[in-house]
Amino acid sequence: MRTPLFVVACLLVGAAIFGAAIGLGNDYIFFAGYVVLQYVVLSTAWNILGGYCGYVNFGSAAFFALGAYSTVAIYKLIGDNELPHVVPIPALMLIGGLVSGVVGLGMGYLTLRMRGAFFAIATLALAVVLETLVVNWDFVGGSRGAYILRPENVPVIGNYVRYLFLVMLVLAVAALAIARLIEHSRLGYGFATIRDDELAAEASGVPTLRLKLIATTISGALMGMAGAPFPYYISYLQPDSTFGLDYAVNSIAMPLIGGTTSWIGPLVGAVLLGSLQQIVTVTISSAVNLLIVGFLLVAFVIVAPNGIIGLIHTYLQRKPEDFVGRRRHIEADAPGTVP
């Protein structure tokens, strides 16, 4: 299926979802749905660097927060109520994406010459350093946080939350389309070689550093775009929750649980895990929520390394190459098999 067709199909599905949500009448659907869609973007973005290239980024929260704080900075610069009229959300997203993309590029340049394990730790360090910088930057509120006033209404759609939901829906479609496009392109092959054997990739002519930088930039930019509308969603932005490790663990857990080899995995992981978390947070507690994520992550990583997609393959007993996507990262399914 060619990309434009895919995008149209997704948008149609998205429109259907939007319509159904309106039909249900309860605005909470939009609140919860926004978070799930946000995670679709974050997981898909993480997977471009993590699943496709094999480089684990623990600092997803930092890119997300940078997007959010770019919005806050512009908000403070232009002044309260004028903002949505002067700089609409899609523009904020582009700005947030640009900021995070540039930081992603910079981070990549600093860290991508390191072996995988060192890279992962470096991303964690970078996230904390960025958080500390933001916490100490009083212009955006520092540790006190920042209040963002939401405008009352938006033309056509009405309710502002519905508007945010719609914007995130479009971003999610864009993220999925980008991931899918990469997968089926020469870039996707290059990423796979980086994941499998960087030395051999270089010897085969793959410019590994350049590709890795592309991956970190795209990944960071998408995460920043997901973060840009967040201040409007949450109204009160605090650094420690915005930079929270919860974003890091979710953006890692969702692709690993869904399946890292194709764009479907992060989607499945985000929708399932995201919805589960919304339900658990409301019915039980947010701490139990994180416990569940932790357990699921550990369980899947041990028992089902190819994620839910991998389990479906095994269940259907097809040869993995025949299924969606061209490249599978095949694990030995039973423990004790030596590669």
Partner: protein, 290 residues
């Protein structure tokens, strides 16, 4: 304002805290520096150790350091068990770079959240005779609650170093990092050696945890601050050299202390993590074969 006694005190407390940091990092020196396992959950086990010391302290009034020593076998077994799972699930399949990391990340979360669910987010502290008093040397203040853990930490490091250099197991551990094949030829199972080493690594966490809760009140998310610290110290200290770890730990401790004293504590997290970035950028180890 710059004053000499503020400076001296900052340096002294930095060195003392550094001694403790070395104990926390010693586990990572073993698991990461020598065995090449990125156990990002290590601080979680340290906090677990703190809570164990806490429970035994308030229930039975036992001295935290003594309880920690008693608990080391249990933590050793825990560590050995975790390594076995890690080996079978990841190392054997060559998956340690992505899924192995995610595994430990998940463990970190599980330990932290379990503690939150069980104990809540209130700070917990222990009682012991050496926690209150402070010795004064002129204008230098040395709180015993930091001095004692520091000294015992250095003792722990010394014991570890002796184990690694003088005992058969210790030298096997050093060897397994370099040449597993040679070990096999000597009829020593490298996997068993690594299991023991990882067990020791987690056992040190029990002790480090006790030291921590003596030095400061603890709540479950305190562990996160230590992730950057321990890896920074390990890399700066030469990845597995225990003497190097001590020096690096004291260096980090002093710089953190100075930053906190003169710039305020809100900048402190950036210090250790910033050190980590510096250490990673400067160390050539880990680059693709060059």
């Amino acid at each position: 304002m710059f004053s000499l006694d503020l400076l001296i005190n900052a340096i002294v407390s930095g060195i003392l805290i550094g001694g403790f940091y070395a104990a926390v990092t010693s586990g990572i020196s073993l698991s990461f520096g020598i065995l090449d396992i990125v156990n990002i959950a290590h601080p979680g086990f340290v906090i677990l150790g703190s809570y164990v010391a806490y429970i035994l302290n308030i229930s039975f009034g036992l001295d935290p350091i003594l309880t920690a020593i008693v608990m080391t076998p249990a933590f050793f077994v825990l560590g050995a068990g975790i390594y076995q799972i890690y080996y079978v699930s990841f190392e054997k399949r060559g998956q340690e770079s992505l899924r192995g990391l995610a595994f430990f990340f998940g463990l970190l979360f599980i330990t932290e959240v379990t503690l939150v669910l069980y104990f809540g987010v209130d700070y917990r502290y222990v009682e012991a005779s050496y926690i209150g008093p402070t010795w004064h040397f002129g204008y230098v203040d040395v709180p015993l609650r930091i001095l004692v853990p520091c000294l015992v930490s250095l003792l722990l490091i010394t014991v570890l170093q002796l184990i690694l250099s003088r005992t058969f197991i210790g030298r096997a551990i050093m060897a397994v990092a370099q040449d597993q094949q040679a070990l096999r030829l000597m009829a020593v199972d490298p996997i068993r050696i690594k299991r023991i080493a990882f067990g020791i690594s987690i056992a040190t966490a029990a002790l480090a945890g006790a030291f921590l809760i003596i030095i400061q009140p603890v709540e479950p998310s305190v562990g996160r601050q230590y992730i950057g610290r321990v890896f920074a110290i390990c890399v700066l200290g030469g990845m597995g050299s225990l003497p190097g770890t001590v020096i690096a730990a004291m260096l980090v401790g002093v710089v953190e202390s100075l930053t906190s004293t003169f710039y305020g504590p809100s900048w402190a997290p950036a210090v250790s993590f910033g050190f980590l970035l510096l250490a990673l950028a400067v160390r050539p180890a880990g680059l693709l074969g060059r």
